[in-house]
């Protein structure tokens, strides 16, 4: 039936298909032509913006959208937005939350498609280089110079000021969360069993073994992070103390070294004494293993003490200390995550001003001190004024209507112990790469570390895999360019006193 018409009709099947294929190839070739130059076509707006005469009037009544990782870190924005609106006239219209480990993917997808969805973005400083160098973020220096719009950088703790905010001579972000890993332990159990706070990793493992195997008071002596996303931080904490570095001057990876080996071997012993499912522990699981009374020690972010103080099982029983080190090295606290606020460069000038104004106000001690001292969120101290003011940690958060829940520590003693522990920890901070492309190194390291913790691979294999992958990443990204970035970053770190 149809066959007889096939040829009689003007369109035969073969010609039809041919026509379609030809059309598509032609179009695709044309498309690739215009797309070929569009590697950065989606992102990047106008970096130079004009500052109006009366910025306060311009932003009055503006409404901005925030992108941030979902969860308790959105809370301070909800607490303070009304007060900030009163002060500045800027309204926080919408908060978009994304998964903790998906933030880079989400933001980068947005930046490369530039749909203008977000006016203010919160991200982890490791992405700063990639975002800034690709023109996705608005330099803030001009806006910082506006009268009354100063974010008080002098008050920021030096490591964070250096690492979290600057790139290529411009300021791109304001810190709101200073992350560093510290040791949190059960002071009551330590006293009970006459144990001293471990100062080396060997001692650390010994204490872990003791609690796991020789006592019944607590299930495990230690728990550790293992989940994909940030497990690398726990490697760096051990690695850095042995003088481990990321690359040498020729950009050769320095992970597959004695330092890396010792770090992994020590960690493997720790894992032995940790709960069986420790390989899947992310932030909440690791924190809960301590605050739920299942582990006597954890190396974790500095917001755990305030969570521990709020938990029934550990209230009044926790202690904080710098992470252990090495006898023939030092202690090094890795600084993964952390949060900063940046302004996408693709927004309109008015939105950029409004977003910056909001961020700048948010980061002032007036608000941020209440934030870091409130266990209802995970933001950690990042200003000198916060750490030199332990009293704030014992007081309720006036900008929140659950004052009972917002007190971090019940006594000055705990508060002082906390702030001094954080201070000590910061002095031995070990920075995380943040130049353009470093996301690739971190991803590669993280996957291998996560596999190591889960027992998929051994020490040698892990180190070799990382080395091979980093080598190929350096090649892919351009060795010379990477060398340049790396040496600039090292200078900044030396300046901040966290790199030898």
């Amino acid at each position: 039936m149809s066959d007889s018409l096939k040829q009689a009709d003007g369109i035969s099947r073969r010609r039809f298909v041919h026509g379609m294929s030809a059309a598509s190839v032609a179009a695709a070739a044309g498309l690739s032509g215009c797309v070929g130059g569009g590697g950065g076509g989606g992102g990047g707006g106008d970096a130079s913006m004009s500052i109006p005469d009366d910025p306060d009037a311009v932003v009055d009544g503006a409404s901005i959208t925030l992108a941030i990782d979902e969860g308790h870190n959105t809370n301070p924005f909800k607490w303070f937005s009304d007060a900030i609106q009163e002060d500045t006239g800027v309204e926080l219209g919408e908060i978009n939350g994304f998964g903790f480990t998906n933030l880079f993917s989400k933001l980068m997808t947005e930046f490369t498609s530039n749909s203008g969805a977000f006016d203010l973005v919160s991200f982890y400083p490791q992405y700063l280089g990639t975002f800034a160098a690709n023109g996705h973020l608005q330099p803030l220096d001009d806006m910082m110079g506006i009268d009354g719009w100063d974010p008080q950088f002098d008050d920021m703790l030096k490591p964070f000021r250096q690492m979290y905010t600057q790139w290529g001579g411009n300021t791109y972000a304001l810190p709101i969360d200073g992350d560093v890993l510290m040791l949190v332990y059960r002071r009551d159990l330590f006293e009970q069993h006459d144990i001293e706070v471990p100062e080396t990793w060997a001692e650390f493992n010994e204490v872990a073994r003791y609690f796991t195997e020789e006592t019944d008071d607590i299930e495990h002596g230690v728990a550790t992070y293992g989940k994909r996303g940030f497990s690398y931080g726990w490697f760096l904490t051990r690695f850095g103390g042995l003088g481990g570095k990321y690359f040498d001057e020729e950009m050769n990876p320095q992970i597959n070294t004695e330092a890396g080996r010792r770090a992994l071997e020590s960690w493997r012993e720790t894992i032995q004494y940790a709960p069986d499912d420790t390989a899947s522990y992310g932030y909440p699981e690791l924190r809960d293993s301590f605050t739920g009374g299942n582990a006597a020690m954890v190396v974790q972010w500095t917001d755990v003490p305030k969570k521990a103080a709020a938990s029934e099982a550990t209230a009044g029983k926790w202690g904080g200390a710098p992470v252990p080190g090495w006898e023939d090295g030092r202690a090094a606290s890795a600084m993964p995550v952390g949060r900063v606020l940046g302004v996408p460069s693709g927004s309109s000038d008015e939105q950029k001003l409004a977003a910056y104004r909001f961020a700048q106000t948010f980061t002032l001690p007036k608000f941020s001190t209440h934030m870091v001292s409130d266990p209802g969120c995970g933001e950690d101290p990042f200003r000198t004024s916060q750490l030199s003011n332990p009293e704030a940690f014992t007081q309720p958060n006036p900008l929140r209507d659950a004052p009972g829940e917002s007190v971090a520590f019940n006594g000055m003693e705990s508060a002082e112990q906390y702030t001094s522990a954080v201070e000590a920890t910061l002095e031995q901070g070990y920075p995380v790469p943040y130049w353009p492309g470093s996301q690739d190194y971190i991803n590669a390291l993280d996957i291998e570390i996560s596999r190591f913790v889960s027992g998929e691979t051994g020490v040698e294999e892990t180190l070799e895999n990382v080395e091979t992958e980093w080598e190929s990443i350096v090649e892919d990204l351009g060795r010379e360019q990477q060398q340049e970035y790396y040496s600039n970053v090292i200078d900044a770190w030396k300046n901040a006193g966290i790199w030898e």
């Binding site: 039809f16 990782d69 979902e70 969860g71 998964g99």
Partner: protein
């Protein structure tokens, strides 16, 4: 009828089998089978509903509670006053729009391939169109992302409706082809004899005759659009974000609000449940791409 006989009748449809050991085993067997099926299928759903009515701390207690100790609808309220209502609204708009668009484009094409495939590429093209459904979504997503960002069409309703055509149109074409093939051409020819043009015959005769098929296809297309995740993950931000995207965002991270996520899931499942209850027999044909007549 005794209780035993009644039960056996209900379960096995027989009344005249004498009460015997074999009959009893049969009844027990069927009863247990049905019960196991019921439990296996429904327990996960029941647990979700259970979780959705608990206050947050109770979702993490051990031992877990099988009915909420403190029954509360606050998870639903929290979700709806938070991101929940906007994503559900977006889902409705996108899924309905995508369905309408897919049907308008696909039904006529299905007719064309049913009646006269030779004119439009032949049967092979029809099969080839179907094969598009087999692509892993990531394959077209990568280049489509590139294309759409060039024209600035990210995170809008029309974007999503257009994108969903990629897997909906093949489905519609294929299913409607199968349904149209069921109608003998004689019916249309009769109409043409009566003076109708072919276009008129299509609208006035063929279409009404396949309306059950149209309904089935519409529902299936809607369900797939409602449930779609990968495209939405990449192409939406906040303006057009559909509910599947925020579900993984709420899980993991700092503290999972299991009760809220469960509440959102329950709300998203309600239309599905309604459709399933109404349409079961119809759906088989659609699900098997017309291979099984159902």
């Amino acid at each position: 009828m005794s209780v035993v006989e009644w039960t056996r009748h209900r379960l096995t449809g027989t009344t005249d089998e004498p009460v015997s050991l074999r009959g009893a085993f049969r009844t027990i067997g069927v009863t247990s089978f049905v019960s196991v099926m019921l439990v296996a299928t429904l327990f996960p759903l029941y647990w979700t509903v259970n979780t959705s009515f608990k206050p947050a701390p109770e979702t993490q207690t051990f031992p877990p509670t099988f009915t909420p100790e403190t029954f509360t609808i606050s998870p639903y309220i929290d979700v709806l006053t938070g991101a929940g209502s906007s994503v559900l609204v977006n889902s409705v708009v996108v899924s309905v729009g995508a369905t309408v668009l897919a049907m308008v484009i696909g039904v006529p094409a299905g007719y064309a391939y049913a009646r006269n495939p030779g004119k439009v590429g032949g049967k092979h093209l029809a099969f080839w169109i179907l094969s598009l459904r087999m692509f892993p979504p990531i394959a077209p997503i990568l280049p489509l992302f590139f294309m759409f960002r060039q024209v600035g069409m990210i995170d809008t309703y029309p974007t999503m409706m257009l994108l969903y055509l990629t897997f909906n149109v093949p489905l519609v074409v294929w299913l409607m082809r199968s349904f149209f093939q069921d109608i003998p051409q004689a019916v249309e020819e009769a109409a043409i004899m009566d003076g109708y043009s072919r276009l008129e015959a299509f609208f006035k005769v063929s279409l009404p005759l396949v309306s059950p098929g149209v309904v089935t296809t519409t529902l299936l297309v809607w369900i797939f659009s409602w449930n779609e995740f990968q495209f939405a993950l990449v192409f939406t931000r906040n303006a057009a974000q559909t509910y599947p995207v925020i579900i993984p965002a709420l899980v993991g991270g700092h503290a999972t609000l299991w009760n809220q996520v469960a509440a959102l899931s329950v709300m998203a499942m309600i239309p599905i449940i309604i459709i399933s209850l109404l349409m079961q027999k119809r759906l088989v044909r659609g699900l098997t791409l017309g291979a099984v007549k159902g």
